[in-house]
């Protein structure tokens, strides 16, 4: 990353101003021309550095309001097969293998979304039936304390 690129990332923190030419102000902040900023953003958008350039919505009205972190105890030699099967489920948005720790025996994590707890449970049961992995748990959210876009190149440890 060049200093100019880091400058652009920092200048876009908090989002674009709501005006006719919203890229002008971030370009000024970053100390680059608007053309340079636009070209950089397009390049990042094309190569996947930017996953999505768009609005963050406060309310999701898609109907998927409940989410559960589904954790699975999968034998090491079946991780690959299970990971693929779980990832194929529409209800699963994220699927990762992680290390087991102390008495927590689960090593495969799935974020499961549903319209209700029952929806999440059904999605998990289908994955379980399909794969034969029966040792799993669904950890539901009791409280959302924070959900924010990451602050990249944070210079201080605390916000």
């Amino acid at each position: 990353m060049t200093e100019a690129q880091i400058g652009i990332i920092k200048a876009l923190r908090g989002g674009l101003p709501l005006c006719e030419e919203p890229f002008l102000e971030p370009a000024q902040k970053a100390g680059v021309s608007q053309d340079e900023l636009l070209a950089q953003l397009k390049a990042w958008n094309a190569d996947g550095t930017i996953r999505r350039f768009g609005a963050v919505l406060r309310h999701r009205r898609a109907g998927y309001s409940v989410n559960a972190m589904g954790v699975w105890n999968v034998p090491d030699d079946r991780i690959e097969e299970f990971g693929r099967a779980a990832a194929a489920s529409e209800a699963v948005s994220h699927c990762y293998q992680r290390t087991r720790f102390s008495n927590f025996r689960y090593n495969l994590y799935t974020m499961i979304h549903g319209k209700s707890r029952e929806g999440c449970e059904n999605a998990a049961r289908r994955i379980s039936e399909e794969t034969g992995i029966a040792d799993y748990a669904l950890l539901y959210t009791t409280k959302e304390f924070k959900k924010a876009r990451p602050v990249y190149f944070a210079s201080t440890s605390e916000a």
Binding site: N45, V56, T142, F145, K146, R149, T156
Partner: protein, 178 residues
């Protein structure tokens, strides 16, 4: 009824109860069909252009002014939180991890709030499990990650805390809620 950006439907006209309820919902969401289409585009693919609202207007057959006014209204009503880039942390050479912590129930809110205060913490959820607090960290490098975790331990006094970086990613769907 004409499409006036950010304006409410006329709620003063007498209407049967069922319709009134629907209008009240419309009032809460402040969204009409055009807004819905606009939201869809703005959410997934905001134009990276000198005059993005002109582009949006052209897509929807409305004026640049109208597109901007509608987005402003959606932002003012709280539906749009911000418009900007969602980066792939790894491509920015940042490191990410999930952390599981066991916090005494009566200290959960306090500990969670002090953890949320760290800029590196992006998601922080209470969960119904013995490990009752789960959060994600995005840091510039491994050293910052370790330092942040140490600071969190010191600040909260939580010792039963586990760093769980992804060993392998099977799926990562772009989250439109974000």
């Amino acid at each position: 009824m004409p499409n006036v950006p950010g304006m409410l439907p006329d709620l003063t006209a007498p209407t049967p109860p069922g319709i009134l309820v629907k209008r009240r919902i419309a009032k809460v969401l402040l969204v009409d069909d055009l807004d819905r289409r606009l939201l869809e585009i703005v959410q997934g693919d905001f134009p990276i252009a000198e005059r993005p609202y002109r582009v949006l207007g052209e897509c929807l057959g409305i004026s640049e002014r109208n597109a901007l006014d509608r987005v402003r209204a959606l932002a003012n009503s709280g539906i749009i939180r911000e418009i900007g880039p969602s980066f792939d942390a790894r491509r920015l050479e940042h490191v990410t991890t999930l952390v599981a912590a066991k916090v005494p129930a009566d200290r959960l809110d306090e500990a969670a709030n002090s953890i949320s205060a760290f800029a590196q913490v992006t998601h922080n959820y209470g969960r119904d499990h013995e490990y009752n607090l789960w959060f994600t960290l995005v840091c510039r490098d491994a050293e910052e990650l370790e330092r942040t975790l140490e600071e969190i331990k010191t600040k909260t006094g939580i010792s039963d805390i586990h760093e769980l970086p992804a060993e392998r990613t099977f799926k990562l769907r772009v989250n439109l809620g974000f």
